[in-house]
């Protein structure tokens, strides 16, 4: 009894922290905004798959069709920042209860105001154009901040902006329309000024400034395996407290790693070398989603406890597709000190194995967005061919070795509990 009270206060303390963090409106909006991009990045992944297959068959290349297929990458990953602006503005508008379409439009206007244009001459006619540099992965940070800021400013001007007094005869729709036009124009003008300030610096534009001062150093931090291990560890610790870990940390993960994933995806689609080892696609595929299946299999086939066997039975099929909730809440793994250690260290060790394998050149870098529900061994093979399969098998062996003693210990405990219960039941029957 004492123990449960103690756990509760610990949980409460953690809940205060986690709730503050994960319920923070901005963090939550950012997380949802990124998750809206999934279908778009998946188009890029499909194009990459076609390109990879075509490298062997050369069917499309010889028929001169590959250039059309890669449009599916150029118009998705290649200009991802535009879609990010729309998604972020939508989520921000939802969060602060304002018109989503107005938020999307003003945010796009502001984003394009900040994005530098070039002009050049083709056959005597002058062409003005956006280079795709800052519309793609390099513009994501500016896109995110622009959408959040522009939508917020728009809301402020709509709520507290100058209300022009109209005679009572003027229909209210007209004064509302004027207020909206005024808010649009004010926000756009603020961004025109921001752009003017950055354009007069040596960075040339807000994009140039943010990329040099923020995104580039962040990419440096992201390139360290330690950053990724800390994120993975945090995610599993949150699970210990019953909070969906990767969901709660997705705002951080995507801000740090999605631009790197997109850059890799683009390189893969056109067949150049992939610039980054660590990225968000790497994190998903190489923290060993198969570990949930392994855990369920251990419960089902290595345990004697009736309860654990029953949970294994419920959990084995979902586990095969990377779903762990039946075990998280059934055993439960939540608040379970025995299973905390393997739960936290298996994804971290898996990441280290894949990282080392990539650094030594054995495993190819990841540029495909492979959702976590793709089962073993398809996920490993898709991510790294036969080398991917080898790495995945090594990871699984290590996961089994780490989980086994802890599961056995748990089994022993549960068996003793069950025997005690049976004994009590038998005694009460005797009386």
């Amino acid at each position: 009894m004492d123990q449960t009270i103690e756990k509760k206060t610990l949980k409460d303390k953690f809940f205060v922290w986690a709730t503050k963090f994960a319920n923070n409106r901005t963090i939550h909006i950012i997380a949802n905004g990124f998750s809206r991009l999934l279908p778009i990045t998946m188009i890029g992944t499909l194009v990459s798959l076609i390109t990879i297959v075509d490298n062997y068959t050369n069917l499309l290349k010889n028929a001169n069709l590959l250039q059309y297929v890669t449009l599916g990458d150029t118009m998705t990953n290649g200009i991802i920042s535009i879609f990010l602006v729309a998604a972020m503005a939508y989520e921000m508008a939802k969060g602060i209860k304002k018109s989503p379409i107005a938020a999307i439009l003003i945010s796009l206007v502001c984003f394009f105001i900040l994005t530098p244009m070039t002009s050049f001459t083709v056959k005597d006619s002058t062409v003005s154009a956006f280079t795709t540099t800052y519309l793609g992965s390099k513009g994501m940070f500016v896109g995110m901040v622009t959408a959040l800021l522009a939508t917020k400013l728009f809301a402020v001007f709509m709520d507290k902006g100058i209300k022009i007094k109209m005679p009572a005869e003027v229909p209210s729709a007209i004064s509302e329309s004027i207020a909206s036009v005024f808010a649009f124009a004010s926000v756009a003008f603020i961004f025109i000024i921001i752009n003017g300030i950055f354009a007069s610096t040596s960075f040339g534009s807000a994009h140039g400034f943010v990329y040099a001062i923020l995104q580039k150093p962040l990419e440096g931090a992201s390139d360290s395996i330690w950053t990724m291990l800390i994120i993975a560890c945090l995610g599993e610790l949150l699970w210990f407290f019953g909070i969906h870990g990767s969901n709660a940390t997705s705002a951080i993960t995507n801000t740090l790693y999605l631009p790197l994933s997109i850059a890799n995806a683009q390189a893969l689609a056109v067949g150049t070398s992939l610039p980054y080892i660590l990225n968000s696609y790497f994190l998903v595929i190489w923290k060993c989603p198969t570990r949930h299946f392994i855990m369920a299999a251990l419960l089902l086939w290595a345990c004697k406890s009736k309860q654990l066997k029953a949970i294994g039975k419920v959990a084995i099929v979902p586990g095969f597709f990377g779903i762990s909730e039946p075990m998280k809440y059934g055993i439960p793994m939540v608040f379970n000190p025995i299973l905390l250690i393997p739960m936290v260290i298996t994804p971290m060790i898996s990441l280290v194995i894949a990282y080392v394998a990539t650094v030594i050149g054995f495993l190819p870098r990841v540029g495909l967005n492979l959702p976590w529900y793709i089962p073993f061994p398809i996920n490993g093979i898709m991510a790294g061919g036969w080398a991917g399969l080898v790495v995945e098998i090594i990871q699984c062996a290590v996961v089994v070795a780490i989980y086994f003693p802890f599961v056995k210990l748990l089994d022993k405990q549960k068996c003793a509990e069950e025997a005690e219960k049976e004994k009590q039941a038998a005694e009460s029957l005797d009386k």
Binding site: I243, E325, G330
Partner: protein
């Protein structure tokens, strides 16, 4: 008819729960409309009689209750682990009835 919506991070594990609940409803002859959705799409189902959150999303309960007029409940830990659709369905219905 009861309109029940379940939500978790991506709508994956709650979709398992939703199908268990549908089976239970069928067995008991209860007319229900049960959907499992990702957290960011809850809005599309804001006219439900009740919103049930997977325990992994329990930390969002208070915030979501502020946003929606439907009652927001966190699914019981044990029932979620054992995917006990019958218990969750009955809890949800008695909550809906209690509110009316």
């Amino acid at each position: 008819m009861y309109k029940i919506t379940l939500a978790c991070a991506g709508g994956f594990s709650t979709s398992m729960m939703a199908s268990r609940m549908k089976e239970a409803a069928k067995a008991q002859g209860i007319d229900v409309d049960i959907n499992a959705v990702a957290e960011e799409d809850i809005e599309l189902y804001s006219d439900s009689d009740i919103l049930l959150l997977g325990p992994q999303l329990g930390y969002r309960q208070q915030e979501l209750q502020k946003d929606f007029s439907m009652p927001v409940l966190v699914i019981n830990f044990q029932d979620y682990g054992s995917m006990n659709g019958k218990n969750v369905l009955n809890d949800a219905i008695s909550k809906i009835k209690g509110d009316k």
